[in-house]
């Protein structure tokens, strides 16, 4: 099992490599800064993910606060120790407009 599409708004992979589990996350989001203009010269309102939470088997491991300086479709890699094959990694995000997204994936052997 490689990359799995958990939902329209997230792609995840979690692979155990030796002692470290490498988690890669790609969230689908426009990450609008609020400073960009459309073709008519109107400002496009800010719309960006502000908080991302990652947990393993329900226990939080990473808490990220993001600003408008994160690229469109935010990408993250992080490393966990002590995870086992089958452990469930869950990612949740919320943006400045209150919209949320989530995805989860089980750890696989590399």
């Amino acid at each position: 099992m490689g990359v799995v599409d958990m939902a329209d708004n997230m792609r995840m992979r979690a692979q155990l490599k030796g002692e470290v589990t490498e988690v890669k996350v790609l969230m689908t989001h426009p990450m609008e800064t609020g400073r960009r203009k459309n073709d008519f010269g109107d400002l496009i309102p800010a719309n960006f993910i502000q908080l991302v939470s990652a947990s393993i088997n329900g226990e939080q491991v990473l808490e990220a606060q993001l600003g408008t300086g994160i690229s469109k479709n935010p990408y993250l890699t992080f490393h966990l120790r002590g995870a086992k094959v089958g452990d469930v990694i869950k990612i949740t995000w919320v943006d400045n407009l209150g919209k949320t997204g989530e995805g989860e994936i089980a750890v696989t052997a590399a």
Binding site: A54, L62, L66, G67, Y75, T77, T92
Partner: protein
């Protein structure tokens, strides 16, 4: 509907509305993220005295063709690292992201950021209530903030 029932219904609706936010203990740090200068952003994060550290590695390209997507990797080898903040001095708002690690997460992160122009990228680490910094200059050939 009886008054008591109605009030219970209101509380029920209110707690449902709060559900999506429950996963987040943190509140987005508006003061830090809206600051237009790196120093003000650091103040917003509660950073007081910053020391340079060779135990922090910042991997980023020397030259970025496109400032819209610049991949940054930060590793801290400072014992008891709690968090990593990434700042770009010359962006319209300097603070890019702030990562807090717990329960077996390594003090390591890879992400992709926007850069308005050539600038230092700063990685600020909190460990044992002290703050450490490492910088990497990235030359931006095409602005990515649009």
């Amino acid at each position: 509907m009886q008054r008591r029932k109605f009030i219970q219904f209101l509380f029920g609706a209110a707690s449902l509305a709060l559900l999506p936010a429950r996963a987040f203990a943190a509140v987005w740090n508006a003061a830090a993220f809206q600051a237009t200068q790196a120093d003000a952003a650091l103040t917003g994060l509660g950073v007081s005295k910053l020391k340079s550290s060779s135990l922090i590695t910042v991997v980023a390209p020397d030259k970025a063709e496109n400032g819209a997507v610049v991949q940054i990797e930060v590793t801290s080898n400072i014992p008891n690292t709690e968090s990593i903040a990434i700042l770009v001095d010359k962006n319209p708002t300097s603070l890019i992201a702030h990562f807090k690690f717990s329960h077996g997460a390594d003090p390591f992160v890879v992400t992709r950021i926007k850069m308005a122009e050539t600038s230092d990228v700063q990685a600020v680490i909190k460990a044992d209530n002290q703050y450490f910094v490492a910088k990497k200059r990235v030359e931006v050939l095409e602005n990515g903030c649009g």
